[in-house]
Symmetry: C2
Subunit: 340 residues, 2 copies
């Protein structure tokens, strides 16, 4: 059943100016932490470039906040490139970010697997290499919902991006080489899987109307962070059953050994209240326990969102001592902060 | 114009069991930080009671997360009492919390000004005093939107509660006496004012339907955190104009001296994307600048919410050196953390 599209009200001035105005807000809110290059739409660590530290650059379409700008700071990203809403940044932005964070130890690009992002980051990396900057790239593709999708060849990159930014960021902060920092990010991608479910659509500021239709009793199982279709439409179900719909394909693909310890990340897509995310976390905890898997670390909240979409995703990362230590290391960003 | 009520989809199992299941999730997600008393629906600091430290207790209806359970931990609350959604906790819960956090230096109750909360906390305080626990209470009433409201005599308590919990918590952590800690909270309430605007309604898990109707082009100016009516309905407007609608009554009541430095808190009501909150923060920064007021500290995000309501509130707190130092002091909670 299709629902008549309604205008979604937003706090904006000009639909074409949402990203720069929000970035100006970020600059005003976090003056000691970041600086903003408005021309290139970059959020930069205030003290970038940090000499002799590997620089970490990520970026992508806007509308997923706090990803990526909220993760810029000591122990995580050195720069985030903001594209238009749900649109890849351009190579020039990525090149400017790469130059701005190059402290002589090379720069790592952390790229979510969407065709535009991958192509543009590749072009930026080639240009930077021509300028003598050593660049490596790691592409995140943790979403097990679909093999290929509307905007990707292969799986989409979602929640593991947050974990890779934190863990690779900690590795860089502790003096890791470019190869070591890239390996840390790859290790996260190898050991993490995600799956998302939408209860509602979302609307870009440019259109103001829901980007897809969901019936009043339908959910989108396996949804992407731009509202891309998932595996199937289902009737709305209990939190218990929805958690199972998410955990089953994650565990089938990840195949963690019984007795494994995981980082369990329950992420809100933007419009779901925190009380429901904690209720989902309780389900995740119980259902993993039933399967002999322990939650060693956790993250619950809105970290990689899809504007005001009601929905959630689960990401599991199989921990080891190295990943746990890097996760626990101090971090100081607008959206993730501890020990600093 | 009225919109036909639609069922709002939620991640729940049983509408009557949402709060306990979410609290079990909080316990599972933050084992080193808090412990949860499921029988009394309390979130307690893991190491409570802290001997010779003033204990801080707050609480209220659920549905405003992370308030209050997300603010339990070192440097902020010792306990949070969770009522049913949008319903005051009962005196027994508050009494159990008071006993659990009493380390011999007395206990402060931080109470948002809603009739149920005020009466129940008063009863709990009297019972605790009878048991020999020294209790003081501070009632927060920072919302300038309406003088009396659906659930209050006098103004409602909203965003200043978060600031008072942080600042009084820091005072307690640094060894402040019960009188000093209560004075710090009162000082926050005296120097802070708030105002909220809703772009959409929200639905409790029990009803599943929007608790009020807003036309597709209407906003509720001065809304309360339970969807209580505000001052008036208006046509939806630009972020610039809505910010002015919020700042004008705040500044009219607060009357900060030109040259004042404020903590500016732009709070999401639950369903508004972070990109819009930062865009609003940019407006707040510009409009305060035009009036000769400087933002000395900031907080942007979903901290005192109204389930999935789309909307935002602004709270301004006039800073001085003491408040700034207490704000900057280390805090270690699920929702607010720095320096620890």
């Amino acid at each position: 059943m299709s629902v008549v599209a309604q205008v979604v009200k937003k706090f904006i001035n000009d639909p074409d100016n949402v990203v720069p105005e929000a970035l100006a807000g970020v600059a005003a809110a976090h003056p000691g932490l970041v600086r903003v290059d408005l021309e290139n739409q970059l959020v930069l660590r205030a003290d970038a470039p940090v000499q002799r530290k590997v620089g970490l650059v990520s970026g992508g379409g806007s509308g997923h906040e706090p990803l990526h700008g909220g993760f810029v700071g000591a122990g995580m990203l050195d720069a985030a490139c903001a594209g238009a809403v749900f649109t890849s940044p351009v190579p020039d932005q990525m090149g400017a970010a790469t130059r701005a964070v190059d402290g002589g130890a090379g720069v790592l690009h952390l790229v979510k697997n969407y065709t535009g992002d991958v192509l543009n980051f590749r072009m930026a990396a080639e240009l930077a290499e021509d300028e003598g900057i050593d660049v490596q790239s790691v592409v995140l593709d943790d979403d097990v919902a679909v093999q290929d999708s509307l905007y990707t060849a292969g799986r989409r990159g979602v929640g593991a991006t947050v974990l890779a930014e934190k863990i690779a960021g900690a590795c860089a902060e502790s003096g890791g080489s470019l190869v070591e920092v890239a390996d840390a990010a790859r290790k996260v991608n190898d050991r993490a899987r995600s799956f998302g479910v939408a209860l509602s659509s979302c609307a870009t500021p440019a259109s103001g109307s829901p980007i897809f239709d969901l019936g009043p009793d339908e959910i989108e199982v396996g949804v992407g962070i731009h509202g891309e279709p998932g595996r199937r439409r289902e009737k709305h179900a209990s939190a218990h059953d929805i958690t199972e719909m998410m955990l089953d394909p994650i565990l089938e693909d990840l195949k963690p050994a019984s007795g494994s310890s995981v980082l369990a990340f329950v992420n809100g897509l933007g419009g779901t209240p925190l009380i429901e995310l904690y209720l989902l976390f309780n389900e995740v905890n119980r259902q993993l326990g039933d399967r002999g898997i322990t939650i060693g670390r956790s993250l619950v909240g809105n970290y990689i969102t899809s504007l005001e979409m009601a929905g959630a995703s689960i990401t599991l990362l199989v921990l080891d001592d190295e990943l746990t230590a890097l996760w626990d290391a101090p971090v100081k960003t607008a959206a993730l902060r501890w020990g600093a």
